[in-house]
């Protein structure tokens, strides 16, 4: 059986930022679930690994967090994107699209095209 691919180093942070950008403030479980849904269960993420990453992003100033009430009225920590985080997301999105486009072009080229 083929194993599910690990999340590429650094891409998980990008996914978190994008999720917060699209959905607005979210708690940890909400973010984890969203990433799982979007990736169509193709990615094996231990949901727990998200929390150290969230703390790191918070230390870097890309996101901020505060206590709030979850769907069923329990205390939960909500994360939201800061202005710096939004800027970072835009820059990283651009970089990522560029890289993907270059790789895609490499795959498209066939030997005879170079004739």
């Amino acid at each position: 059986m083929k194993e599910k691919p690990d999340v590429l180093q650094g891409t998980l942070a990008l996914m978190v930022l994008k999720t917060l950008d699209v959905l607005g403030p979210q708690h940890g479980w909400g973010i984890a679930r969203r990433i799982e849904q979007i990736s169509g269960d193709l990615l094996a993420v231990n949901q727990g690994t998200l929390y150290p990453l969230l703390l790191k992003l918070e230390h870097e100033g890309s996101i901020a967090s505060e206590w709030g009430a979850s769907e069923n009225n329990r205390r939960a920590r909500f994360y939201r994107l800061t202005a710096a985080g939004r800027k970072q997301l835009q820059a990283e999105t651009r970089d990522w699209e560029q890289t993907a486009a270059i790789i895609a072009r490499f795959f498209k080229v066939k030997a005879e095209d170079l004739g």
């Binding site: 949901q47 150290p52 230390h59 205390r75």
Partner: protein, 441 residues
Amino acid sequence: MKFLRRFLIRLSNFVTGRRADQRLKEEIAEHLALQMEENVRAGMTPGEARRQARLKLGAGGAIREDHHAEQSVPFFENLLFDLRYAVRMLLKSPGFSFIAIATMGLGIGATTAIYSVINATLLHPLPYPNPGELVRVVDDFPGIGARDVGISIPQWRDLESSGIFQFVSISGTGANVNLTGSAQPERLFFKDVTPNYFAVLGANAQLGRTFDPRDATPGFNLEVVISDGLWRRQFGADPHILGKALQLDNDVYHVVGVMPRGFRDQGSSSEERNTELWLGAGFAGLPFQPAERGLRLHRVVTARLRPGVSIAAAQGHLDALVESLKKQYPGDYPPQNEWTIRLSPLSESVVGGVRQSLILLFGAVGLVLLISCVNVANLLLARTSDRGSPGPGSAESAPHPPASHREPAALSAWRNRWFWRLVLYPAFPVAACSGEPAAQQ
């Protein structure tokens, strides 16, 4: 920028001991509750739902460790932990610690002592601007076997007007004098110098002025320049000291300037280097001997060459000058004396012939330090092997460090850590204890 911000926050968390454990615990509890509810909605039994939620979350210990490592700085935490452990071990065996600290102390102390001598003499022999231009001037009479003879006042005037030097100064060897009439009578070291002395050294007063280099008073000009140390100690750093009359033995001098804090006189004795009073004098009128060519009394002659003139070139000009003077005054410089004037770098006359022995001595104490290091290392090793090879089982003597160490760490890494803890970390406090008194010398 991002990295720096993150590091600073973590550092401040480490220093203030702020922890995020409680927050993580709550977050995970809420996470599990939400995931469980979803699992139940998907049709699982509550027990199965809880199990699946936990599986999905992953290993709790690893998450807590990563979270903690992100919150603080694990490297510093471990270092602090190990150092604390090392200090405790040293306190537990005071005899051993004393020997180790004394051994290192001897090595470090000796090295520091010799280094401070070298620093003062070889590395910074002359604390004056353009020290390469400074030379010492002496007369030699090889014909009658006399070297390092002083010069006479007329000869000094010849040198001054020769154009070879910017300035040529004469200074006395100095002596002690009683300062009275101030708050506290004091015995001080003074030095009589020609008024261009400070111009030769290139030193200026921090307050007032030094002597006027063109001052031609034959005897003492009754002006005195004082050192920063004396100014602070005896006069409370009085800003209105200029013009104040000082009673030195039986004479009254007027203060014209205060030298800056870092200024030190040149000379071969420490007394001379710590001169506190400089008296301006022409060395030609009373109370000095009359200015005669035959009276070669002035042995300390310091001169500053013109910029860009090498000592060899100046010596060449000087030899020509000597030839013409011999012809001019055949009575004072008979040919059989073979009179010459010799220049030597001032730095050489300060350090003298001790350069070689100082370097040798420094090498020797360096080896002593090395030997004491080896000895202490041996002691530490011997003590470690004496205790038997510690394994993961002997946890009673070494408590586990806070979190941050994954259990599956390889045994070799573990042993490696033991080596650090038992041998190298104790070395730091030992070295710190030994070095501290030495550094204060």
